[in-house]
């Protein structure tokens, strides 16, 4: 049985609360000190041991596959630059396989395809500050996948994408087999899970700061074969098409997607965020792009829905004030 695991490392960024009366004052949106403090608190007990295990696996030629969000790398650099240096060396030597995704591990795709594309681009740009190698394959946050995701990711130069299997009509499709996306230019897909017993498994694991249910890193999992090589095997014409018109998310993700999108406050936030992206995408500064992405962080969306009503309202109101703040800069 071929077992693969993709280990996710992220650190959600806290946003400063913005009162209605503070709109237009160009106040800092991200609470860097609070976010950094949280990272520092978790580092020794939680983060460092996981990273050391990744390094150990790399040393044992197990080719661990890892996604690092940009905030995670930034905080790691501040916290322990030597550890980052060790990781960098292993990545550059090809012993750690980088996996591409969104810069801030956000649900930007649930908001706007334009925002998603920008976040994926920012990730590739940002990664250059840390590593010489670029990732060959892509996995969206929560393994969100549909045909349009494939189209966008292909345009960014990735070799392939990890997708969530549609449990309803796999019709014998199983993971480990390469499929073609249902796009103008076919794109290679690997399913992270299939619909029956097979000999291939991609586990999606939470290293830190992600919402995959499992945080167990299996030291024995050896990605002997570089996963992107799987995409290059076989004749492309022989691959069958995997069509997904509506986004599917990984069953390994802690919450169902409607929990991030269906509450009226979440709907309003995502809709307004999307409208702003559509209107100003050719003018937005990098900081404003970043803020729009951070407003789509899973934790942020969830807190609007699942914390106490008052706290949820406060977060929503502050988020909308941030959006207004951005919009005023371009009017």
């Amino acid at each position: 049985m071929d077992n693969y695991q993709i280990i996710h490392f992220n650190h959600p960024l806290e946003l400063n609360a913005l009162s209605f009366l503070d709109i237009g004052k160009n106040l800092s949106a991200v609470d860097e000190p609070k976010s950094q403090k949280k990272f520092a608190e978790d580092f020794t007990q939680t983060i460092q041991p996981k990273l050391k295990m990744i390094l150990k696996m790399a040393g044992e030629n197990k080719s661990p596959m890892v996604y690092f969000s940009l905030p995670f790398l930034s905080f790691l650099k501040q916290q322990n630059s030597n550890l980052l240096l060790e990781i960098k060396k292993q990545v550059n030597d090809g012993k750690i396989q980088l996996v591409g995704s969104c810069a801030y591990h956000s649900f930007s795709y649930l908001c706007s395809p334009i925002l998603f594309k920008k976040e994926a681009e920012l990730f590739l740009d940002g990664l250059k500050n840390y590593f010489e190698k670029k990732p060959g394959m892509f996995i969206n946050t929560a393994c969100l996948y549909d045909d349009q995701v494939a189209e966008i990711v292909k345009s960014l130069g990735y070799l392939g994408i990890i997708a969530t299997a549609n449990p309803w009509h796999l019709a014998g499709k199983h993971s480990g087999q390469v499929y073609k996306s249902n796009t103008i230019q076919p794109f290679n897909i690997l399913l992270s899970n299939g619909d029956g017993p097979d000999n291939f498994q991609i586990s999606l694991v939470n290293g830190y700061g992600s919402a995959y249910t499992s945080d167990f890193i299996d030291r024995n999992t050896s990605n002997k074969k570089q996963i992107q090589e799987l995409f290059l095997t076989g004749n492309e014409d022989e691959h069958s098409v995997y069509a997904v018109s509506l986004p599917l998310s990984s069953p390994s993700w802690e919450n169902k997607i409607p929990e991030y999108t269906n509450n009226p406050l979440q709907k309003a936030l995502l809709k307004q965020n999307s409208a702003l992206v559509s209107q100003f995408h050719d003018q937005l500064s990098i900081d404003d792009w970043k803020l729009l992405m951070l407003l789509c962080q899973p934790d942020h969306l969830l807190q609007i829905n699942q914390t106490s009503k008052e706290e949820g309202y406060d977060r929503f109101i502050s988020s909308m004030n941030h959006l207004t703040d951005i919009s005023l800069r371009y009017k």
Partner: protein
């Protein structure tokens, strides 16, 4: 005095009025204030002048030390003058259980007041709204002292109609048993007479007043005119009507934004309505803001709309006017009795509101002149004047025995 305690997001106008009345009365009489709210700031002041003793929630719950926190939360959430839920049916089901727990908390609160006042020498019971009625009736029965009930809002106003709820019956009994009922407007007096069958002769109208308002330093960053809704996000205040007005208004006026200050049970529904109406880029929900921030937004706004289903007075309209902000009121607002040349619209007449707002936007000079005249007029009636009138009425009842 049995009242709601310090102003808070939960008791809004009622809390502000009672706080001001208590502050001014305390300068003239020895006032024992019984309140469910823990009033740290007020308590500090009161210790300094030594005239008021506050029965805070901490004291109320001392008996059960281990359960103190739990009881605090319970009482805080359950004894809330605005516990009415939104229009959603799901909330109505929730209310049945809530009503029972409110009644239980009310009974407990009343018993504690009776217990604490057993050795207290007093001349008159001065109570505010339904929360204070059961304890006041028992106190009156035990002491034989006169009972004056000031009514800031009724079940009729909050539910928008005459109902057969236990609260309606409680309010009716309270007003019937009171020696004097203080109404905050003629509009409300008429409701007491018509809906509650209270004798006109025992109702005295004493309208609210205002002290000088301190607004935060604020300059709106928007190029558009701000149309303001300020109040609890509830059916009583016509919050959903405001969204309907906004939806209709944006079809005729482009250069406007809407600001909704305050919070309440309809928040989620209003946001949903605004999203569905495509208003979210034009409307801002501020949530709860400190009073001086609200005043700052009033100063930065062009019009304030108060489309209340039934507003016994409407203190925020008085505040707006004193800051020079033109207002458009529903016909069901008591505050209109102290304002001149203010548009009053039938509560559901969306076109009427739209027309009145557009008139103000189109005639800014005239609107400002009217607002200025009203501002000068309302500033003459401050809380000192109001509390003097209340004290006079209380003295009269003491004399009457």
């Amino acid at each position: 005095m049995i009242g709601p305690g310090t102003p808070s997001p939960e008791n809004s106008g009622l809390g502000i009025a009672c706080y001001n009345i208590a502050q001014h009365l305390a300068k003239k009489v020895h006032l024992n204030l019984f309140s469910v709210e823990s009033a740290d700031e007020m308590a500090t002041q009161e210790v300094e002048n030594g005239k008021i003793e506050t029965l805070t929630r901490e004291k109320l719950t001392n008996k059960k030390q281990l359960m103190a926190d739990l009881v605090h939360i319970s009482i805080k959430s359950e004894i809330n003058p605005y516990f009415y839920a939104g229009s959603a049916k799901i909330e109505q089901h929730h209310n049945e259980a809530l009503e029972i727990s409110v009644q239980e908390a009310l009974e407990e609160f009343s018993l504690k007041i009776i217990s604490k006042s057993r050795n207290l020498a007093f001349d008159i019971i001065y109570a505010h709204d339904w929360m204070a009625i059961p304890a006041s009736l028992k106190l009156k029965g035990l002491s034989g002292k006169p009972f004056v009930l000031q009514v800031h809002a009724l079940d009729y106003d909050r539910s928008g109609k005459k109902s057969n709820s236990w609260l309606f019956e409680l309010e009716k009994e309270g007003m019937q048993m009171a020696d004097l009922v203080i109404a905050v407007s003629d509009y409300h007096k008429r409701i007491m007479i018509k809906a509650y069958d209270i004798k006109a002769s025992k109702i005295k109208v004493i309208r609210h007043g205002l002290d000088k308002l301190n607004a935060s330093d604020y300059k709106a960053p928007f190029a558009e005119d701000i149309i303001l809704f300020c109040g609890r996000l509830s059916l009583q205040k016509g919050a959903t009507t405001f969204i309907d007005i906004a939806e209709a208004l944006v079809k005729k006026e482009q250069n406007i934004r809407f600001v909704v200050t305050g919070q309440g049970e309809l928040m989620e529904e209003l946001i949903g309505l605004s999203t569905d109406s495509g208003l979210m880029d034009k409307i801002h929900f501020t949530g709860y803001l400190p009073q001086n921030d609200v005043f700052a937004i009033m100063k930065a706004s062009r019009v304030m709309v108060m489309p209340s289903v039934s507003d016994p007075f409407g203190l925020s309209a008085l505040e707006a006017v004193s800051l020079g902000l033109p207002v458009v009121l529903s016909k069901n607002c008591g505050v209109s009795e102290v304002l001149k040349d203010v548009p009053q619209i039938a509560q559901n007449d969306i076109d009427g509101y739209v027309y009145a707002i557009r008139e103000i936007l189109a005639n800014k000079k005239l609107a400002s002149k009217t607002a200025k005249e009203n501002s000068d007029s309302v500033k003459k009636r401050n809380w000192e004047v109001v509390s003097t009138e209340i004290l006079s009425a209380l003295n009269q009842e003491v004399k009457n025995g």
